[in-house]
Every structure is written in C-alpha cells, then in structure tokens.
C-alpha cells in the first residue's frame, strides 16, 4: 500500500492505493501521525483505488478513527469499491466510522 496526501481547505484528503494488509502497519502508523499533525478537522481516506483490505487493515482503520477522535478530529472513509466496500459492509463499520460513497 502507498498513499498520497492532499491538503484542502476544509479537509485533508488521503488517497490509499494498492492493498492494505498487516505488512503495512508501520506505514499506516506513520500516516496516522501525519494526519494528526494536519490542521484540518476532517481527515478523509479516499479508498477508491484501494484494491484489497484484510482484517488487520480493518483493525488499523479503527485505530486511526480512535486516534483522530482523541485529537478531536473526524475520520471519513470515502468511495470504497469492490472487496473493500464488501468487507466494510459486512463488518458494519458504518456504525463506528463515517462512510461516504
């Protein structure tokens, strides 16, 4: 997995690409730190180009949400598709995290 950060006026847009698996845990931690340092309150993860997420990836997304909440920020998961969308749906993550199409 790799990512690109784009600072916008109201939000920070992070585009995730490839596969988010356990092997990316260090990278995701670094990303969380970067997001915490951003001033925007809304931190949006754009998942449209993310092809795959495993259960560890879901766990990491939840940690990210928690970290954002602790820093009084909002995590938004946007434009999930394919396997990622299906996993988010069956995990009922919409009950915990804001999910946008």
């Amino acid at each position: 997995m790799d990512y690109g950060i784009e600072d916008k006026e109201q939000e920070t847009l992070v585009r995730l690409r490839g596969r988010l698996t356990f092997n990316d845990h260090a990278k995701l931690r670094a990303l969380i730190r970067e997001m915490l340092q951003n001033r925007a309150k809304r931190q949006v993860l754009d998942l449209s180009t993310l092809e795959f997420v495993d259960s560890a990836g879901i766990g990491m997304l939840l940690i990210a949400r928690e970290e954002m909440a602790n820093a009084d920020k909002q995590l938004v998961l946007r434009s999930a598709a394919g396997q990622v969308k299906r996993v988010l749906t069956v995990a009922q993550l919409n009950k915990i995290v804001t999910i946008e199409d």
């Binding site: 698996t21 356990f22 092997n23 845990h25 260090a26 931690r29 997420v53 495993d54 259960s55 560890a56 879901i58 766990g59 990491m60 939840l62 940690i63 396997q83 299906r86 996993v87 069956v90 995990a91 009922q92 993550l93």
Partner: protein, 389 residues
C-alpha cells in the same frame, strides 16, 4: 262364429276398387314394405297377420328382456361407480389432510423440541454471524493495538540495552580511575595510605556496579527475547486474514434468503394442493349424488316394460282369438323381409343372438340369420363386447 263369417268380403279376393298399383304388393311374406298397401282381406292376409303377430309378440318380449337386462347393467355399473367415487372422495380428503399437515410444518423447523418459524431462524442465524464478524473486527483492532504497543516496547528495550552498555562504559572508566588513584596513593607513601583505602573502596564499588550491570543485561536480554517472541506470535495472529470469513456472510445471507423464498414457495404450492384436493373431494361427492339418475332411469324402464307387457298380452289374446277363428289349413306366414330388416339392425352380436334365439328358434321362422350360438339366449356376463359386421 267364424271370423270369415263376420267378414264375408274376406273371401272375395283382391279389392277390385283399389288394385295394387305396383302389381306385386299382394305377394305373401313380402315384409314391412307391404304393410301399408292394401291387402285383400283373405286367408292369406290372416296368415300374414298371424305371422306378424307372432313375431311382434316375441319382439316385444325380447325388448322387455333387453330393457330389464339394460336396467340391471346400468344399476350394477352405477353402484360400482358410486362405490369407487366414494372411495376416491375419501382418498382425496385424506390427501388434503396430509398436505395440510405438511403446510403447517413447512414454515418452521424443530430445534430442541421447539418449533421455530423459518424467518425467525434465519434472522437469528444472521444475527449470530453479524456478532461473529463484530468480534473479528474487535479482535483485529485489539491485535493491532498490541502490535503497535509491542513495537514501542521493543524500541524501549533496545534503549535499555544501550543504557546498560553506557553503564558498563562508565564503570570501566570508574574502575580505571580508582586504579590510578591506588597507584598514586602508594607513591605518596604513608601520606597516601588513607586515600589508598578510599581508592580500593571505589574499585569494589565499581566491581559491584559491573556485576549489577551484568545481571541487568542478562534480565533485559531475557525480556527482549520474550517480547520479540510475543511480538512474532502476535504478528502471526494479526497477519491471519479473516476477511474471507467475514465475506462468507454475504453467501450465507443469500443462501438463507433463497431458503426462505423456497420455503414460502413450497408452502404456497402445498396450500394450493390442499385446496385442490379438498375441491376434488367435494366434486366427487357431487358426482356420487349425480349418480342417482340411475334410480329414475330404472323406474322409467320399469314403466315402459309394464306397458310393453300389456301390449304383448293384448297381442297374444288377439292372436289366440284369431287362431281359434282361422281355418286349420291356414298357418301363420313368417314376415321374412321384416325379420331380416329387424335383425339386421342389431350390431351387438350377443344382443342379436338373443333376438334370433327368441324370434327364430322359439318361433316358426327359419334360421337364416348368421351364426347362431346355442347359448346366445342365456345370460352372459361378458355381454359388453361390441361386434360390427
């Protein structure tokens, strides 16, 4: 008093006023076609009439027999049919009850002796799977928190190792300084004696510190090893992807949905089947009631038979009276052509044979009407065979 005496014109031969237009109408034994024509009232006419009367009486008797036979055939068949229909109605009713039993069971399953409706079961199972997935998600999240925690612990422990190394370096330095102090103290002689004791103590202290650092290193090494092992195991746990198991919910949901649909469909079809069976039973009951037409038919046939009996009796009486009045020399004329036509109409061989037996074998006519079975006049249970000539 003779019949001839009452009608002297009988002996006068053919009617002179109304001659036979065809010229052959008076031919004796000409059959039905001649009946409508004028026949001279004569002995021949009487003989012809007697022949007809004989055959007609026998025909009436034969018809009476046929009617009785037909009535009892219909009665037997009707009773048999009624019984079978009743049986059929009973079976249709049983079928309906069985199907209703299935219908009542179809929408639910038995779990620990308790009937659970199918939709409730499906909802329950879906909820169970949803809970399972929630647990997987929670576990994954906790596992990743632990991974991050142990990442940090490993970093801290490495720093600890480094710190122990620092202590060692400081200790070596201290030991070296103490050694130098001891040397300097011995050079100073008596004046440095006290200082030498202090330097010696410092060296002891340094050795103790070194020993402590060694013990710490060995413990820290054990901790590092344990943490690394734990970290590895945790990585293995966290690296076990459970997303396929989570996605299995999709398949299970679809299967459950299909199961419910199918059950509902079965139930609907079975309900229709139960209704149809019940309808069938009621229709068959109506049919059994409808079979009562046979009673009416039987009564009518009996009435007709009674009329025919009276007619035959009248004919017989008239025949007897005529025979008494007729000259002994005259015998009845057999209406051959009429007979031929009558018998030609019977297409059922056994019925024809009964007629032939009664009309010909018991009568005076000759056997000119096809194969005669000597048993034909008797009852024959297989009388339904139809034979076309």
């Amino acid at each position: 008093m003779s019949f001839y005496g009452r009608a002297p014109r009988l002996e006068a031969g053919p009617e002179p006023q109304e001659p036979d237009p065809s010229g052959n109408g008076s031919h004796p034994g000409n059959g039905l076609s001649d009946v409508g024509e004028k026949i001279p009232l004569s002995g021949e006419l009487l003989a012809t009439w007697m022949g007809y009367a004989d055959v007609q009486r026998r025909t009436l008797e034969a018809i009476q027999n046929e009617l009785t036979r037909t009535s009892s055939t219909v009665e037997g068949a009707t009773l048999d049919l009624s019984d079978r229909f009743r049986e059929l109605a009973e079976k249709a009713m049983q079928q309906s009850e069985r199907v209703e039993q299935i219908v009542s069971m179809a929408g639910s399953v038995s779990i620990d002796g308790e009937r659970v409706p199918m939709d409730q079961l499906v909802t329950g199972m879906q909820q169970m799977i949803a809970d399972m997935i929630t647990n997987i998600v929670t576990l994954s999240r906790h596992a990743m928190s632990m991974v991050y925690l142990l990442d940090d612990v490993q970093k801290d422990v490495s720093e600890l190792e480094k710190s122990i190394g620092d202590i060692d370096a400081i200790n070596r330095q201290t030991n070296f300084l103490a050694l130098n102090a001891t040397i300097e103290a011995s050079r100073a002689g008596e004046a440095g004696r006290t200082f030498a004791v202090v330097a010696q103590e410092v060296r002891h202290l340094s050795r103790s510190t070194g020993a402590l650092a060694d013990r710490m290193r060995s413990k820290v090494t054990a901790v590092v090893k344990g943490v690394r092992n734990g970290h590895d195991i945790l990585r293995q746990i966290a690296d076990t992807d459970m997303s396929p198991q989570m996605l299995a919910k999709e398949r299970v949901d679809k299967t459950m949905e299909s199961l419910v649909d199918q059950t509902n469909h079965f139930q609907a079809v079975l309900e229709t089947a139960a209704t149809v069976s019940s309808d069938m039973s009621s229709t068959i009951s109506h049919m059994v009631t409808g079979m009562q037409f046979q009673d009416l038919t039987k009564q009518r046939l009996e009435a007709i038979n009674d009329s025919l009996a009276i007619m035959a009796e009248g004919l017989n009486e008239l025949e007897n009276r005529t025979r008494v009045e007729m000259p002994a020399s005259l015998g009845p004329q057999v209406p051959q052509e009429w007979l031929d036509e009558l018998l030609g109409r019977f297409k059922l061989s056994e019925m024809r044979q009964r007629f032939v037996r009664r009309l010909l074998l018991e009568g005076t006519a000759l056997d000119e009407h096809g194969a005669l079975d000597v048993d034909a006049g008797q009852d024959d249970s297989s009388g339904g065979d139809i034979e076309l000539f």
